[in-house]
């Protein structure tokens, strides 16, 4: 435990230094990576540990984003309180969805959450207090003055995002290595056996859904901060899609992998841009190349490294040893 | 003049070995009873012979041609029919459809219809229930249907997996009588896997006793029945 704390402190310190050395765009991307890290952790917990495929995490991010924005604009609370509200609101919704989901086996859950993801913009547009299509602004304000004149807005986002991500990951990693994580794995592996051992599998599934949603909500609020806005369009099906891809790339049940997954998710548009620039820059390329890369990566990794690159490495080493 | 030859057959489920160096043969037109307790590897043996499961080593041949490594559909076309464990009928289909299924691999449907007519002659009770869903049959009738379906493919080698499983004693007796009758009538070679050792050996020509994946005894059925040591150790009475 003490080692882990130390590790996270060192990580934070490294991030702090890196944040000072790179330019504005990279700092923004850093904040996005931090956001995706939290979001991917929510998928790892839900899919990798408790074995439920949900496309609803994008929707939970939306819940978190809206909750944070509404808190901040209507109540003028401190920033941390807005993030807290994001977590609380998303866990409530997550518990609700989870209660429905726990009764469902794989295909029903995936389909239901897909429906939710497809319909989310339409649903969000129903409620005028959510600001309709254009959404609502989310402004965490300028960085505190004592940080100095040249402390930029994005660096402030980056600081907030990274600290939240570090704390969230620390907590998640403790949850996953505790009895909770092991029970989820047991329920995923064999729900019947777990039931016979006295584990109420649906209660555990709901719990996984709730915690996962809390993480997603937190990520949603960080996302809203990074782009200074919450709008239905930002939490699209494509986002849920990207999250699943990132988690599969990370190794669906590997928490340390999420940083890698997040890095790739942020890098994809960049790579796509560069590629599109070379191939001649039609709108089509800009709009669909990132999606193409995401899908190809998702397909290849789900076929060839379904349990993450880590497992393949382990297998390879195993083979070498055997020879 | 060679029926079924199984030579040094080994099969494993992942790391666990299910059958080790199993060797036996069945002459054409004979019935071999494969006896053993639960988990001895009997079902695995049949599944391997019908192509559902891969062997790890050894070989098996039928009428002089290799069986291992072939898909079930190919083996069915070579006259090998496997009635799997537990009344293997499809309850969602009608009795007629279950029977048609037995001949579905044929291009010619009239052959199948003729075969079905023969099966109905053997099992008149199925004939009365052709349009009903197989769901509505009794346990014994289902087993008849399962065997009937296999017969529609006009097999030369019939692999039967525990036809007595889950049936009442009276019905079991009937089933064994039926098997005995029809194998003589149709000249079938039969491998009958059973826990019900006595009944199976009574209608068998030869017997193979398997324990924990290995053949512990084989020979003429009558000799096996009369061997006191085997009776005590494996036949359970």
């Amino acid at each position: 435990m003490r080692k882990k704390i130390l590790l996270f402190i060192v990580l934070g310190w490294v991030l702090l230094i890196v944040g000072d050395r790179v330019d504005e765009l990279r700092v923004y991307q850093g904040a996005q990576i931090a956001m995706y890290t939290i979001a991917l952790a929510s998928i790892v917990l839900l899919t990798g540990y408790s074995g439920q495929v949900s496309l609803g995490n994008g929707a939970m991010m939306a819940v978190g984003g809206y909750a944070a924005a509404l808190t901040l604009t209507n109540l003028q609370t401190p920033i941390w309180f807005a993030f807290l509200m994001a977590v609380i609101a998303a866990s409530l919704f997550g518990a609700l969805l989870g209660a429905a989901a726990a009764r469902l086996s794989g295909p029903y859950l995936a389909g239901t959450t897909l429906a939710l993801a497809v319909g989310l913009p339409a649903i969000a547009n129903q409620f005028t207090f959510l600001g309709g299509e254009p959404g609502i602004l989310f402004d965490v304000g300028f960085p505190p003055e004592r940080l100095g004149e040249d402390f930029t807005q994005y660096k402030w986002f980056f600081w907030i995002a990274s600290s939240i991500a570090l704390v969230a990951l620390f907590i998640t990693s403790n949850i996953l290595s505790s009895r909770f994580g092991r029970t989820w794995q047991a329920v995923r592996g064999n729900a019947l056996a777990a039931e016979l051992a006295g584990v109420n599998s649906s209660r555990w599934k709901i719990l996984a859904f709730t915690i996962s949603s809390a993480l997603a909500g937190l990520a949603g609020a960080v996302f809203a901060m990074n782009i200074s806005l919450v709008a239905p369009g930002a939490y699209s099906l494509a986002l849920s899609f990207a999250l699943v891809t990132g988690a599969v790339l990370a190794g669906i049940s590997s928490l340390p992998g999420v940083a890698f997954g997040a890095l790739i998710l942020v890098a994809i548009p960049e790579v796509a841009d560069a590629l599109a620039g070379r191939l001649g820059d039609a709108d089509k390329l800009n709009n669909y190349l990132p999606g193409l890369i995401v899908s190809v990566l998702l397909i290849l990794s789900v076929i060839y490294t379904p349990n993450g690159p880590g497992e393949n490495l382990r297998k390879l080493r195993h083979k070498r040893k055997a020879h | 003049m060679s029926g079924l030859l199984v030579n040094n057959l080994s099969v494993s489920h992942g790391a666990i070995s299910a059958l080790r160096n199993v060797t036996f043969s069945v002459e054409p037109g004979q019935l071999a009873a494969v006896i053993g307790s639960n988990g001895a590897g009997k079902t695995t043996l049949l599944r391997t012979l019908s192509g559902l499961k891969d062997a790890s080593s050894g070989n098996a041949e039928w009428e002089g041609r290799a069986m291992l490594g072939k898909k079930p559909d190919e083996l069915v076309r070579r006259g090998i029919s496997h009635v799997s464990e537990g009344k293997s009928v499809i309850p969602e289909l009608t009795v007629k459809e279950n029977l048609v299924l037995g001949g579905i691999w044929r291009a010619n449907r009239s052959d199948t219809n003729a075969a079905i007519a023969e099966v109905v002659e053997l099992f008149p009770r199925l004939g009365e229930r052709m349009g009903q869903s197989a769901d509505t049959l009794s346990g014994g009738e289902r087993q008849m249907l399962a065997i009937g379906r296999a017969l529609v493919s006009r097999p030369k080698l019939l692999l039967l997996d525990e036809p007595s499983l889950g049936l009442a004693p009276l019905v079991i007796e009937q089933i064994f009588e039926t098997i005995d009758k029809l194998r003589h009538k149709l000249g079938l070679t039969v491998v009958l896997v059973e826990q019900n050792a006595m009944s199976a050996l009574e209608i068998a020509d030869t017997g193979v006793i398997i324990n924990l994946g290995e053949v512990v005894a084989s020979g003429k059925a009558s000799d096996l029945i009369n061997d006191p040591a085997l009776r005590a150790a494996y036949l359970g009475y």
């Binding site: 469902l104 086996s105 897909l114 049940s253 089509k284 995401v294 | 799997s84 299924l101």
Partner: protein, 298 residues
């Protein structure tokens, strides 16, 4: 009273299209145990092919024919080149349970980006095979049009053809047997892998028809069939996901129900209505309307 009547008619037309999509999903689910989310993508690709043919030939039906063929080929290809490889590789570890669903999502994304890169994101409209102007009864015009009639008739013909195929032919028996009991089917000499691929082809063709018919009344874009996928899924769930008859009934119930919401409440609540139905069915009757009280486990 007239409005109720109109609503039911339009609902039948909408339900027809849902029926085709939900049949496509059920067909694949039964044989492969995967809800094929890529079905929306496959149908969309087929519809783009149909769009190309029908806009060049100016004959809708020729486009429909090509959409069916394209859908069937793509469906078979997806099973043969994709699902088989997937099942061979992703068969162990924590991802094994979730890999198929995730893979079909990836495929949906792949087809969508491919279509986007090829045809762009603009809305396309298809040559309509019949007038979209409503019939006039006496001196009032109702929204129910000759196109709606065509949609219903085409769907009815396809449903009849499928019923004959599944109930009366050896192929149909092989498809059903392989779905209900793959091992028994195999032992009966059915080449189950090939049969499954044929099932995917049929599903793909049916999905192609759904795409063409929904687009005849609407626009085509890389995203335009997502909602159809969702409603097709809801219809399939109403029917219990296993039963083809159930899927068709579920589709008509959903189509008519949503048209009532559309006509009496408003456009904006259609999706929420559909979603509510889904949740209610899952909570109250998770095995669908065709179930005989057997509970579905895991």
């Amino acid at each position: 009273m007239q409005k109720v009547f109109e609503t039911i008619l339009i609902g039948l037309s909408t339900g027809s299209i849902y029926a085709l999509m939900s049949l496509a999903l059920v067909l694949v689910w039964r044989s492969t145990r995967v809800v094929n989310f890529a079905q929306a993508g496959q149908a969309m690709f087929s519809t783009y092919i149909g769009f190309e043919i029908s806009s060049r030939s100016e004959v809708f039906w020729l486009g429909l024919l090509f959409a069916i063929v394209a859908g069937a080929l793509l469906g078979a290809g997806v099973d043969y080149f994709f699902m088989r490889v997937l099942f061979k590789h992703a068969n162990s570890g924590p991802a094994a349970v979730v890999a198929p669903v995730i893979a079909t999502l990836g495929l949906l994304g792949l087809i969508r980006s491919f279509v986007g890169l090829t045809w762009g994101g603009e809305f396309k409209s298809i040559e309509t095979p019949a007038s979209t102007n409503g019939f006039t009864i006496g001196d009032s015009t109702i929204p129910f049009s000759p196109l709606n009639v065509l949609i219903i008739v085409t769907t009815a013909l396809i449903l009849i053809a499928l019923a004959i195929l599944f109930q009366r032919t050896n192929l149909g028996l092989a498809l059903r047997a392989s779905a209900y009991a793959p091992e028994i089917a195999q032992l009966a000499g059915i080449r189950t892998a090939r049969t499954r691929t044929i099932g995917w082809a049929i599903a793909g063709g049916v999905g192609g028809v759904a795409g063409m018919l929904v687009t005849a009344n609407n626009f085509l874009s890389p995203y335009s069939l997502d909602l159809l996928l969702v409603f097709g899924f809801i219809a399939a769930v109403i029917g219990g996901l296993e039963s083809m008859v159930g899927a068709v009934i579920g589709a008509f119930v959903l189509g008519i129900g949503l048209t009532f919401i559309l006509n009496y409440v408003g456009t904006s609540l259609v999706f929420i209505g559909g979603f509510t139905v889904l949740i209610l069915v899952l909570i109250i009757k998770p095995d669908g309307i065709m179930s005989r009280g057997k509970a579905r486990r895991a």
